[in-house]
Amino acid sequence: MSLLALSSLDVAYGDLPALSGVSLAVEAGETLSVVGANGSGKTTMLRTISGLLRPRRGEVRFEGERIDRLPCHRVVERGVVHVPEGRKVFPSLAVRENLELGSYTRAARAHRADSLERVFALFPRLRERAGQAAGTLSGGEQQMLAIGRALMARPKLLMLDEPSLGLAPLIVTEIFRTIDAINRAGVTVLLVEQNTRQALALSRRGYVLENGRVVLVGTGAELLGNEHVKRAYLGM
Protein backbone atom coordinates (compact mmCIF):
# COMPACT_ATOMS: atom_id res chain seq x y z
CA MET A 1 0.00 0.00 0.00
CA SER A 2 1.30 3.43 -0.95
CA LEU A 3 1.57 6.09 1.73
CA LEU A 4 -0.42 8.50 -0.43
CA ALA A 5 -2.54 7.57 -3.41
CA LEU A 6 -4.47 9.87 -5.73
CA SER A 7 -6.82 8.08 -8.08
CA SER A 8 -8.55 9.58 -11.12
CA LEU A 9 -8.69 12.99 -9.54
CA ASP A 10 -10.65 15.79 -11.24
CA VAL A 11 -10.39 19.28 -9.76
CA ALA A 12 -11.83 22.45 -11.29
CA TYR A 13 -12.08 26.16 -10.54
CA GLY A 14 -15.62 26.94 -11.62
CA ASP A 15 -15.80 25.82 -15.27
CA LEU A 16 -12.05 25.70 -15.60
CA PRO A 17 -10.60 22.19 -15.19
CA ALA A 18 -7.28 22.21 -13.29
CA LEU A 19 -6.66 18.48 -12.85
CA SER A 20 -8.12 15.77 -15.07
CA GLY A 21 -7.93 12.11 -14.15
CA VAL A 22 -4.73 12.45 -12.13
CA SER A 23 -3.49 9.29 -10.46
CA LEU A 24 -0.30 9.30 -8.48
CA ALA A 25 1.27 7.24 -5.71
CA VAL A 26 3.84 8.27 -3.14
CA GLU A 27 5.65 5.37 -1.47
CA ALA A 28 6.70 5.57 2.17
CA GLY A 29 10.26 6.83 2.54
CA GLU A 30 10.78 8.20 -0.95
CA THR A 31 11.30 11.69 -2.30
CA LEU A 32 8.99 12.19 -5.25
CA SER A 33 8.92 15.30 -7.39
CA VAL A 34 6.23 16.69 -9.63
CA VAL A 35 7.41 18.98 -12.39
CA GLY A 36 5.59 20.83 -15.14
CA ALA A 37 5.03 24.27 -16.61
CA ASN A 38 3.36 27.09 -14.76
CA GLY A 39 -0.38 26.46 -14.75
CA SER A 40 -0.05 22.71 -15.24
CA GLY A 41 -1.82 21.96 -11.94
CA LYS A 42 1.02 21.21 -9.52
CA THR A 43 -0.07 23.61 -6.79
CA THR A 44 -3.70 22.59 -7.27
CA MET A 45 -2.66 19.00 -6.61
CA LEU A 46 -0.99 19.87 -3.31
CA ARG A 47 -3.93 22.03 -2.27
CA THR A 48 -6.32 19.19 -2.99
CA ILE A 49 -4.26 16.73 -0.92
CA SER A 50 -4.25 19.26 1.95
CA GLY A 51 -8.02 19.61 1.83
CA LEU A 52 -7.95 23.23 0.69
CA LEU A 53 -9.76 22.20 -2.50
CA ARG A 54 -12.37 19.47 -3.04
CA PRO A 55 -12.09 17.10 -5.99
CA ARG A 56 -15.06 16.80 -8.36
CA ARG A 57 -14.25 13.17 -8.90
CA GLY A 58 -11.72 10.63 -7.70
CA GLU A 59 -10.20 10.20 -4.28
CA VAL A 60 -7.18 10.86 -2.11
CA ARG A 61 -6.06 8.12 0.27
CA PHE A 62 -3.42 8.43 2.94
CA GLU A 63 -2.30 5.24 4.67
CA GLY A 64 -5.22 3.59 2.91
CA GLU A 65 -7.91 5.90 4.27
CA ARG A 66 -9.77 8.56 2.35
CA ILE A 67 -8.80 12.11 3.31
CA ASP A 68 -10.45 14.08 0.50
CA ARG A 69 -13.50 14.90 2.62
CA LEU A 70 -11.55 15.94 5.70
CA PRO A 71 -11.00 19.56 6.72
CA CYS A 72 -7.39 20.72 6.48
CA HIS A 73 -6.61 20.51 10.16
CA ARG A 74 -7.66 16.84 10.21
CA VAL A 75 -5.38 16.17 7.26
CA VAL A 76 -2.50 17.74 9.21
CA GLU A 77 -3.35 15.53 12.19
CA ARG A 78 -2.94 12.47 9.98
CA GLY A 79 0.61 13.59 9.21
CA VAL A 80 0.27 15.36 5.84
CA VAL A 81 1.91 18.79 6.09
CA HIS A 82 2.13 21.41 3.36
CA VAL A 83 4.79 24.12 2.96
CA PRO A 84 3.04 26.60 0.67
CA GLU A 85 4.58 28.45 -2.24
CA GLY A 86 5.92 31.81 -1.11
CA ARG A 87 6.62 30.66 2.48
CA LYS A 88 3.59 32.36 4.11
CA VAL A 89 5.26 32.87 7.48
CA PHE A 90 3.54 35.17 10.00
CA PRO A 91 5.67 38.30 9.52
CA SER A 92 4.90 40.05 12.80
CA LEU A 93 5.37 36.96 14.96
CA ALA A 94 8.78 35.90 16.23
CA VAL A 95 10.59 32.99 14.63
CA ARG A 96 9.97 30.86 17.72
CA GLU A 97 6.25 31.72 17.69
CA ASN A 98 5.98 30.76 14.03
CA LEU A 99 7.57 27.43 14.85
CA GLU A 100 5.34 26.84 17.86
CA LEU A 101 2.28 27.43 15.69
CA GLY A 102 3.39 24.48 13.60
CA SER A 103 2.90 22.17 16.57
CA TYR A 104 -0.72 22.96 17.37
CA THR A 105 -2.07 19.44 16.93
CA ARG A 106 -2.42 17.46 20.14
CA ALA A 107 0.13 14.84 19.10
CA ALA A 108 2.66 17.44 17.98
CA ARG A 109 2.18 19.63 21.05
CA ALA A 110 3.31 16.80 23.30
CA HIS A 111 6.67 16.79 21.50
CA ARG A 112 7.04 20.56 21.11
CA ALA A 113 10.34 21.03 22.98
CA ASP A 114 11.82 18.03 21.25
CA SER A 115 10.73 19.12 17.79
CA LEU A 116 11.98 22.66 18.37
CA GLU A 117 15.39 21.29 19.25
CA ARG A 118 15.44 19.19 16.08
CA VAL A 119 14.45 22.15 13.91
CA PHE A 120 17.13 24.34 15.50
CA ALA A 121 19.70 21.59 14.92
CA LEU A 122 18.68 21.44 11.26
CA PHE A 123 18.60 25.25 10.86
CA PRO A 124 21.06 26.84 13.33
CA ARG A 125 20.23 30.22 11.78
CA LEU A 126 16.70 29.99 13.15
CA ARG A 127 18.01 29.45 16.67
CA GLU A 128 20.15 32.60 16.35
CA ARG A 129 17.07 34.53 15.24
CA ALA A 130 14.49 32.86 17.48
CA GLY A 131 13.28 36.16 19.00
CA GLN A 132 13.27 38.15 15.78
CA ALA A 133 10.09 38.99 13.82
CA ALA A 134 9.80 36.58 10.89
CA GLY A 135 9.14 39.45 8.46
CA THR A 136 12.68 40.73 8.99
CA LEU A 137 14.30 37.47 7.83
CA SER A 138 15.83 37.15 4.37
CA GLY A 139 14.01 35.07 1.75
CA GLY A 140 16.21 32.04 2.38
CA GLU A 141 15.71 32.23 6.14
CA GLN A 142 11.94 32.54 5.67
CA GLN A 143 11.99 29.39 3.57
CA MET A 144 13.90 27.61 6.33
CA LEU A 145 11.30 28.86 8.81
CA ALA A 146 8.42 27.62 6.66
CA ILE A 147 10.02 24.18 6.45
CA GLY A 148 10.83 24.24 10.16
CA ARG A 149 7.23 25.15 11.01
CA ALA A 150 6.02 22.18 8.95
CA LEU A 151 8.44 19.84 10.75
CA MET A 152 7.02 21.01 14.09
CA ALA A 153 3.80 19.21 13.09
CA ARG A 154 5.80 15.94 12.89
CA PRO A 155 4.82 15.07 9.33
CA LYS A 156 4.88 11.61 7.82
CA LEU A 157 4.50 13.26 4.41
CA LEU A 158 6.06 16.66 3.84
CA MET A 159 4.77 18.51 0.77
CA LEU A 160 6.91 21.39 -0.50
CA ASP A 161 5.67 23.86 -3.11
CA GLU A 162 8.57 25.53 -4.91
CA PRO A 163 10.95 25.83 -1.98
CA SER A 164 13.68 27.33 -4.21
CA LEU A 165 11.50 30.23 -5.43
CA GLY A 166 13.39 33.51 -5.56
CA LEU A 167 16.42 32.22 -3.67
CA ALA A 168 20.11 32.78 -4.38
CA PRO A 169 22.08 29.79 -5.79
CA LEU A 170 23.97 29.09 -2.56
CA ILE A 171 20.73 29.01 -0.56
CA VAL A 172 18.98 26.84 -3.15
CA THR A 173 21.74 24.26 -2.79
CA GLU A 174 21.41 24.46 0.99
CA ILE A 175 17.62 24.03 0.86
CA PHE A 176 17.87 20.98 -1.44
CA ARG A 177 20.53 19.48 0.81
CA THR A 178 18.24 20.00 3.82
CA ILE A 179 15.29 18.38 2.06
CA ASP A 180 17.49 15.38 1.41
CA ALA A 181 18.50 15.27 5.09
CA ILE A 182 14.85 15.45 6.19
CA ASN A 183 14.02 12.56 3.87
CA ARG A 184 16.96 10.50 5.16
CA ALA A 185 15.64 11.06 8.68
CA GLY A 186 12.52 9.13 7.62
CA VAL A 187 10.07 11.75 6.32
CA THR A 188 8.49 11.05 2.94
CA VAL A 189 8.75 14.08 0.65
CA LEU A 190 6.48 15.26 -2.16
CA LEU A 191 8.25 18.09 -3.95
CA VAL A 192 6.82 20.50 -6.52
CA GLU A 193 9.48 22.54 -8.32
CA GLN A 194 10.27 24.71 -11.33
CA ASN A 195 13.91 23.98 -10.68
CA THR A 196 13.45 20.79 -12.67
CA ARG A 197 17.05 19.68 -12.79
CA GLN A 198 17.81 19.85 -9.07
CA ALA A 199 14.41 18.44 -8.12
CA LEU A 200 14.72 15.37 -10.34
CA ALA A 201 18.33 14.85 -9.30
CA LEU A 202 17.20 14.66 -5.67
CA SER A 203 14.19 12.41 -6.29
CA ARG A 204 13.86 8.70 -6.61
CA ARG A 205 10.85 9.15 -8.90
CA GLY A 206 9.16 11.97 -10.71
CA TYR A 207 5.87 12.80 -12.43
CA VAL A 208 5.41 15.31 -15.23
CA LEU A 209 2.13 17.24 -15.31
CA GLU A 210 0.86 19.00 -18.43
CA ASN A 211 -2.48 20.79 -18.62
CA GLY A 212 -3.71 19.01 -15.53
CA ARG A 213 -2.78 15.51 -16.68
CA VAL A 214 0.07 13.17 -15.83
CA VAL A 215 2.00 12.69 -19.06
CA LEU A 216 5.17 10.97 -17.83
CA VAL A 217 6.26 8.94 -14.83
CA GLY A 218 9.74 7.61 -14.21
CA THR A 219 12.80 7.58 -12.02
CA GLY A 220 14.52 10.94 -11.58
CA ALA A 221 17.37 9.79 -13.82
CA GLU A 222 15.01 8.53 -16.56
CA LEU A 223 13.14 11.82 -16.67
CA LEU A 224 16.36 13.86 -16.73
CA GLY A 225 17.37 11.87 -19.82
CA ASN A 226 13.96 12.02 -21.50
CA GLU A 227 13.99 14.03 -24.74
CA HIS A 228 10.61 15.64 -24.12
CA VAL A 229 11.57 16.68 -20.57
CA LYS A 230 14.85 18.12 -21.83
CA ARG A 231 13.09 20.19 -24.45
CA ALA A 232 10.06 21.30 -22.44
CA TYR A 233 11.48 21.73 -18.94
CA LEU A 234 15.27 21.79 -18.98
CA GLY A 235 15.69 24.34 -21.76
CA MET A 236 17.99 22.03 -23.73
Binding site: N38, V172, Y233, G235
Partner: protein, 237 residues
Protein backbone atom coordinates in the same frame (compact mmCIF):
# COMPACT_ATOMS: atom_id res chain seq x y z
CA UNK B 1 27.12 57.67 -18.85
CA UNK B 2 23.37 57.02 -18.77
CA UNK B 3 23.12 56.26 -15.05
CA UNK B 4 25.66 57.29 -12.42
CA UNK B 5 25.26 56.24 -8.81
CA UNK B 6 27.75 57.45 -6.27
CA UNK B 7 28.03 56.64 -2.58
CA UNK B 8 24.40 55.54 -2.36
CA UNK B 9 23.34 54.75 1.21
CA UNK B 10 19.99 53.78 2.68
CA UNK B 11 19.42 53.17 6.35
CA UNK B 12 16.18 51.91 7.86
CA UNK B 13 16.48 52.87 11.52
CA UNK B 14 19.73 51.25 12.61
CA UNK B 15 19.89 48.88 9.63
CA UNK B 16 22.06 49.83 6.67
CA UNK B 17 20.35 48.24 3.68
CA UNK B 18 22.71 49.86 1.17
CA UNK B 19 26.10 51.40 2.04
CA UNK B 20 28.25 53.58 -0.18
CA UNK B 21 27.11 51.86 -3.36
CA UNK B 22 28.44 53.15 -6.66
CA UNK B 23 27.46 52.03 -10.14
CA UNK B 24 27.52 53.26 -13.70
CA UNK B 25 25.41 52.07 -16.61
CA UNK B 26 26.24 53.15 -20.17
CA UNK B 27 23.58 53.73 -22.79
CA UNK B 28 22.65 50.40 -24.39
CA UNK B 29 24.49 48.31 -21.80
CA UNK B 30 23.21 45.23 -19.94
CA UNK B 31 24.38 45.09 -16.34
CA UNK B 32 23.53 42.26 -13.93
CA UNK B 33 23.00 42.94 -10.23
CA UNK B 34 23.33 39.81 -8.11
CA UNK B 35 23.74 38.94 -4.46
CA UNK B 36 22.26 36.85 -1.65
CA UNK B 37 18.68 37.33 -0.49
CA UNK B 38 18.58 40.39 1.72
CA UNK B 39 21.74 41.90 0.15
CA UNK B 40 19.90 45.12 -0.77
CA UNK B 41 19.33 44.62 -4.51
CA UNK B 42 15.66 45.49 -4.53
CA UNK B 43 16.37 48.43 -2.19
CA UNK B 44 18.76 49.76 -4.87
CA UNK B 45 15.89 49.52 -7.39
CA UNK B 46 13.56 51.32 -4.98
CA UNK B 47 16.14 54.11 -4.62
CA UNK B 48 16.81 54.44 -8.36
CA UNK B 49 13.11 54.57 -9.17
CA UNK B 50 12.20 57.06 -6.42
CA UNK B 51 10.19 54.67 -4.22
CA UNK B 52 12.65 55.32 -1.37
CA UNK B 53 14.68 58.46 -0.71
CA UNK B 54 18.39 57.76 -0.12
CA UNK B 55 19.94 58.56 3.25
CA UNK B 56 23.03 59.76 1.39
CA UNK B 57 24.58 59.62 -2.06
CA UNK B 58 23.94 60.76 -5.61
CA UNK B 59 21.89 59.30 -8.47
CA UNK B 60 22.20 60.99 -11.84
CA UNK B 61 20.25 59.91 -14.90
CA UNK B 62 21.38 61.44 -18.20
CA UNK B 63 23.49 63.82 -16.14
CA UNK B 64 20.62 65.14 -13.99
CA UNK B 65 20.05 64.24 -10.35
CA UNK B 66 16.90 62.24 -9.69
CA UNK B 67 17.27 62.27 -5.92
CA UNK B 68 14.02 63.60 -4.49
CA UNK B 69 12.11 63.14 -7.74
CA UNK B 70 8.80 61.25 -7.58
CA UNK B 71 8.55 57.80 -9.21
CA UNK B 72 6.36 59.04 -12.07
CA UNK B 73 8.78 61.90 -12.77
CA UNK B 74 11.70 59.48 -12.94
CA UNK B 75 9.71 57.22 -15.22
CA UNK B 76 8.94 60.15 -17.51
CA UNK B 77 12.65 60.93 -17.76
CA UNK B 78 13.15 57.43 -19.18
CA UNK B 79 13.98 55.19 -16.22
CA UNK B 80 11.38 52.44 -15.74
CA UNK B 81 11.22 49.35 -13.57
CA UNK B 82 9.38 46.08 -13.14
CA UNK B 83 8.47 44.42 -9.87
CA UNK B 84 9.65 41.09 -8.49
CA UNK B 85 6.12 40.24 -7.40
CA UNK B 86 4.27 41.17 -10.57
CA UNK B 87 1.69 43.89 -9.97
CA UNK B 88 -0.82 43.92 -12.82
CA UNK B 89 -4.20 45.62 -12.48
CA UNK B 90 -5.96 42.26 -12.22
CA UNK B 91 -9.34 43.40 -13.47
CA UNK B 92 -7.98 45.21 -16.52
CA UNK B 93 -7.19 43.38 -19.76
CA UNK B 94 -3.60 42.82 -20.85
CA UNK B 95 -4.01 45.63 -23.37
CA UNK B 96 -5.39 48.07 -20.78
CA UNK B 97 -2.53 47.24 -18.40
CA UNK B 98 0.02 48.15 -21.04
CA UNK B 99 -1.94 51.29 -21.99
CA UNK B 100 -1.41 52.51 -18.42
CA UNK B 101 2.33 52.51 -19.16
CA UNK B 102 1.87 54.08 -22.59
CA UNK B 103 0.06 57.09 -21.06
CA UNK B 104 3.49 58.07 -19.74
CA UNK B 105 4.26 59.32 -23.27
CA UNK B 106 0.88 60.31 -24.67
CA UNK B 107 -2.50 61.66 -23.53
CA UNK B 108 -4.24 60.24 -26.59
CA UNK B 109 -6.09 56.98 -25.80
CA UNK B 110 -5.97 55.86 -29.44
CA UNK B 111 -2.21 56.32 -29.55
CA UNK B 112 -1.78 54.55 -26.19
CA UNK B 113 -3.95 51.68 -27.42
CA UNK B 114 -1.94 51.34 -30.62
CA UNK B 115 1.38 51.41 -28.77
CA UNK B 116 0.13 48.88 -26.19
CA UNK B 117 -1.01 46.56 -28.97
CA UNK B 118 2.41 46.69 -30.63
CA UNK B 119 4.16 45.93 -27.38
CA UNK B 120 1.91 42.99 -26.57
CA UNK B 121 2.85 41.54 -29.96
CA UNK B 122 6.50 42.27 -29.22
CA UNK B 123 6.51 40.37 -25.92
CA UNK B 124 4.46 37.51 -27.36
CA UNK B 125 1.12 38.27 -25.74
CA UNK B 126 -0.71 39.38 -28.88
CA UNK B 127 -3.28 36.60 -28.53
CA UNK B 128 -3.97 37.57 -24.91
CA UNK B 129 -4.70 41.25 -25.45
CA UNK B 130 -8.32 41.07 -24.25
CA UNK B 131 -7.67 38.61 -21.41
CA UNK B 132 -8.05 40.04 -17.90
CA UNK B 133 -4.65 40.07 -16.18
CA UNK B 134 -5.98 37.85 -13.38
CA UNK B 135 -6.46 35.00 -15.88
CA UNK B 136 -2.88 35.12 -17.19
CA UNK B 137 -0.37 32.44 -16.19
CA UNK B 138 2.75 33.48 -14.31
CA UNK B 139 5.03 33.47 -17.40
CA UNK B 140 2.48 35.61 -19.24
CA UNK B 141 2.23 38.00 -16.28
CA UNK B 142 6.01 38.39 -16.37
CA UNK B 143 5.78 39.29 -20.06
CA UNK B 144 2.95 41.72 -19.30
CA UNK B 145 5.06 43.36 -16.61
CA UNK B 146 7.85 43.88 -19.15
CA UNK B 147 5.46 45.20 -21.81
CA UNK B 148 4.06 47.72 -19.35
CA UNK B 149 7.57 48.89 -18.46
CA UNK B 150 8.48 49.19 -22.14
CA UNK B 151 5.32 51.15 -22.86
CA UNK B 152 6.62 53.99 -20.68
CA UNK B 153 9.34 54.53 -23.29
CA UNK B 154 12.43 53.87 -21.17
CA UNK B 155 16.08 54.34 -22.06
CA UNK B 156 16.95 52.26 -19.00
CA UNK B 157 14.73 49.42 -17.81
CA UNK B 158 15.24 47.83 -14.39
CA UNK B 159 14.13 44.19 -14.33
CA UNK B 160 13.60 42.67 -10.87
CA UNK B 161 13.67 38.86 -11.04
CA UNK B 162 11.54 38.46 -14.13
CA UNK B 163 12.60 34.79 -14.31
CA UNK B 164 11.74 33.68 -10.79
CA UNK B 165 9.15 30.94 -10.67
CA UNK B 166 9.74 29.95 -14.31
CA UNK B 167 11.11 26.64 -15.50
CA UNK B 168 14.29 26.47 -17.61
CA UNK B 169 12.41 26.37 -20.91
CA UNK B 170 10.26 29.37 -19.95
CA UNK B 171 13.49 31.12 -18.87
CA UNK B 172 15.05 30.57 -22.31
CA UNK B 173 12.08 32.37 -23.85
CA UNK B 174 12.50 35.34 -21.50
CA UNK B 175 16.24 35.50 -22.29
CA UNK B 176 15.28 35.80 -25.96
CA UNK B 177 12.84 38.58 -25.15
CA UNK B 178 15.46 40.51 -23.14
CA UNK B 179 17.87 40.26 -26.08
CA UNK B 180 15.19 41.70 -28.38
CA UNK B 181 14.57 44.58 -25.95
CA UNK B 182 18.29 45.25 -25.87
CA UNK B 183 18.42 45.19 -29.68
CA UNK B 184 16.09 48.20 -29.61
CA UNK B 185 18.81 50.20 -27.87
CA UNK B 186 17.38 50.03 -24.35
CA UNK B 187 19.88 49.66 -21.51
CA UNK B 188 19.02 47.11 -18.84
CA UNK B 189 19.91 46.64 -15.21
CA UNK B 190 18.83 43.16 -14.20
CA UNK B 191 18.40 41.53 -10.80
CA UNK B 192 18.28 37.77 -11.24
CA UNK B 193 19.20 34.60 -9.39
CA UNK B 194 19.15 32.42 -12.49
CA UNK B 195 22.89 32.28 -13.10
CA UNK B 196 22.74 30.75 -16.55
CA UNK B 197 20.62 33.69 -17.68
CA UNK B 198 22.51 36.49 -15.96
CA UNK B 199 25.87 35.14 -17.14
CA UNK B 200 24.65 34.87 -20.73
CA UNK B 201 22.97 38.29 -20.86
CA UNK B 202 25.19 40.67 -18.87
CA UNK B 203 28.12 42.56 -20.26
CA UNK B 204 29.08 43.38 -16.69
CA UNK B 205 27.99 42.03 -13.31
CA UNK B 206 27.89 43.82 -9.98
CA UNK B 207 27.68 41.78 -6.76
CA UNK B 208 26.03 43.16 -3.66
CA UNK B 209 26.47 41.61 -0.21
CA UNK B 210 25.17 43.12 3.05
CA UNK B 211 24.43 46.34 1.14
CA UNK B 212 27.97 46.74 -0.20
CA UNK B 213 29.52 46.04 -3.56
CA UNK B 214 31.94 43.12 -3.18
CA UNK B 215 32.75 42.51 -6.84
CA UNK B 216 32.26 43.95 -10.30
CA UNK B 217 33.44 42.79 -13.69
CA UNK B 218 32.91 40.52 -16.65
CA UNK B 219 30.64 37.54 -15.93
CA UNK B 220 33.40 34.95 -16.24
CA UNK B 221 35.65 36.85 -13.81
CA UNK B 222 32.90 37.44 -11.27
CA UNK B 223 31.97 33.74 -11.35
CA UNK B 224 35.55 32.88 -10.34
CA UNK B 225 35.81 35.50 -7.59
CA UNK B 226 36.39 33.75 -4.24
CA UNK B 227 34.25 36.22 -2.28
CA UNK B 228 31.35 35.81 -4.71
CA UNK B 229 31.56 32.03 -4.51
CA UNK B 230 31.58 32.17 -0.73
CA UNK B 231 28.75 34.70 -0.36
CA UNK B 232 26.51 33.80 -3.23
CA UNK B 233 27.24 31.02 -5.67
CA UNK B 234 28.50 28.25 -3.42
CA UNK B 235 30.57 25.39 -4.77
CA UNK B 236 29.00 23.47 -7.66
CA UNK B 237 26.63 20.88 -6.14
Amino acid sequence: MLLEVDGLTKRFGGLSAVSGFSLGVEAGEIVGLIGPNGAGKTTVFHLLSGFHAPTAGAIRFKGVSVVGARPHEICRRGLARTFQIVQPFVNLTALENVMVGAFNRTDDPAAARARAGELLEFVGLGARRDTPARALTLPDRKRLEMARGLATGPELLLLDEVMSGLNPTEIEAIIGLIRRIHAHGIALLIIEHVMRAIMALSQRIVVLHHGEKIAEGRPADVARDARVIEAYLGAEP
